[in-house]
Amino acid sequence: MLLIKCPYCGDRSQNEFAYGGDATVKRPELNKEVSDQDWDNFVYLRKSPRGKHLELWHHISGCRQWFKVQRDTSTHEIFKTAEMNEDI
């Protein structure tokens, strides 16, 4: 069982959260020329690293806020969590 520290509610069990995927992926800017490669990078291509991974989680059965989590994909250790507008 993962114990995830929501930046707003504190430590809660994994059961309360939904996973949102890689947090480093950036949507191409609106109203600008977007190449096929840019869309590819955004929609399909993922680094999927073994080790430290910056990802999004959603406290869906709690405060319903999205936030960032830095987690190890080989040990499941969670190093840090932060609000969306904070840097990790």
Partner: protein, 418 residues
């Protein structure tokens, strides 16, 4: 190579089983091979076997970080089927079904292929319509499919919950009678033994640490047991694909995720089909030892851990109890996890890459075991001929950027939303 038969068994029994030959050798790596396959799982071993048998390429090495059969080929729930709607997936997997039917004889190794049939349960009229459509598509591709009503399902699996006031009543199901199971370890060992006997070097405990790429061409690999020169490398490493791709500066349409499975204590024969729950992710079959073999959904976050957490297992087994209430009386014997190369459209990739001599076999999600022979056969063709076979022409790497997705289920890596 020593042939396995009832006579060899009797002969060796009389000698106290002291004279069996080793099933495959333990060679030290040579400095050069015509083809190096990275990954000694089912797909890698099958690829090497078909390279030798179909294409007469025997100067081949399989390089495996751990031991052969220690990854997903030894961790899956052994289900073999071709009940796909899309033509590409249906033809590819039905081609594989024909290889399965003959495998024990061809490999001289009993893989215990058991075509006992699979039933996908439906829990609404809409789902029955969808299954009817899929069944018709299957039949157009020459695959057996039978649409069953509630009463017909009840005759086959009376132990399922057919009571009136349940959240997900059973409306019927789609059955592929020719689907089934096989003994997964035997598949790895059977391919390994035959590949070895044709000259393939199976090199275990040998980790690939880097690649030698010159002017866009592969020239060799670096391993924990020295450098190996080769002009052709087949990447066949399932959940570890992204790790090796990073060493090649490639980013792939893949995320590595974790899935768990479990078996109960062994009980007397009760279930002679593979059955899948239609209102969630749960499926179940009974092994020859009597254990109920069960699996379900991904844990739901990127992971290379090969071990999972309890919430997903609990969720999956809750669905199991909704389908088969009698499971509540059983004790759990073992649970385990494996890591899946989840592609973004749920279908695999068997293709060449932008690096000359580098071939890619990945994206099997959690359905790779059944595809072991078809994957090995088509990947061997792709490597030997340096071009894709018509069976895997559309399992291409660039289908994501060109929009030719094979989104059979339309859920990609986020299977828990499907």
């Amino acid at each position: 190579m020593q042939k396995y038969s009832v006579f060899s068994l009797i002969k060796n029994a009389l000698n106290g089983h002291k004279n069996w030959e080793v099933a495959w050798k333990d060679p030290t790596p040579k400095s050069q091979y015509d083809v190096v396959i990275i990954g000694g799982g089912g797909h890698g071993l099958a690829t090497a076997y078909y390279l030798a048998k179909e294409h007469n390429i025997t100067n081949v090495a399989i390089v495996e970080k751990g031991w052969i059969g220690g990854g997903n080929v030894g961790r899956n729930t052994t289900i073999i089927r071709s009940n796909y709607m899309y033509d590409v997936n249906a033809r590819f997997n039905e081609f594989g079904m024909n290889l399965w039917r003959n495998m024990s004889q061809e490999l001289n190794f009993n893989v215990m292929f058991s075509p006992r049939g699979i039933i996908n349960l439906a829990h609404s009229d809409v789902q029955m319509n969808a299954f009817s459509r899929r069944g018709n598509s299957m039949r157009l591709n020459g695959i057996d499919a039978v649409l069953l009503g509630r009463e017909e399902v009840k005759k086959i699996i009376p132990m399922a919950d057919f009571s009136e006031n349940v959240r997900f009543p059973i409306f019927g199901g789609l059955m592929q009678p020719s689907a089934g199971t096989a003994r997964h370890d035997a598949v790895a060992w059977g391919y390994a033994r035959q590949a070895d006997s044709m000259g393939v070097d199976i090199i275990q405990h040998c980790e690939v640490t880097g690649f030698d790429v010159v002017n866009g061409k592969i020239k060799g690999i670096k391993t924990s047991r020295g450098n190996i020169k080769t002009n052709k490398v087949g990447l066949c490493v399932a959940g570890s694909t992204s790790i090796l791709a990073e060493k090649l500066n490639m980013t792939l349409p893949i995320e590595t995720h974790l899935i768990q499975a479990c078996v109960s204590e062994p009980i007397k024969p009760v279930l002679d089909k593979v059955v899948t729950f239609g209102a969630g992710h749960f499926y179940c079959s009974q092994s020859d030892k009597g254990e109920m073999v069960m699996g379900g959904d991904l844990d739901g976050y990127n992971s290379y851990a090969q071990r999972g957490n309890l919430p997903t297992l609990q969720h999956v087994l809750t669905e199991g109890l909704a389908m088969f209430p009698f499971l509540s009386k059983l004790k759990m014997l073992r649970t385990w996890g494996g890591i899946m190369d989840m592609s973004m459209d749920g279908s695999p990739i068997i293709d060449k890459t932008h690096i000359e001599g580098l071939y890619l076999n990945c994206g099997w999600c959690y359905g790779g075991f059944k595809s072991t022979p078809a994957s090995g056969w088509t990947f061997a063709h792709t490597i030997a001929q340096d071009k894709v076979h018509e069976l895997n022409a559309e399992l291409s790497l660039n289908r994501f950027s060109t929009g030719h997705l094979l989104d059979e289920k339309g859920i990609g890596t986020k299977t828990w939303i499907g």
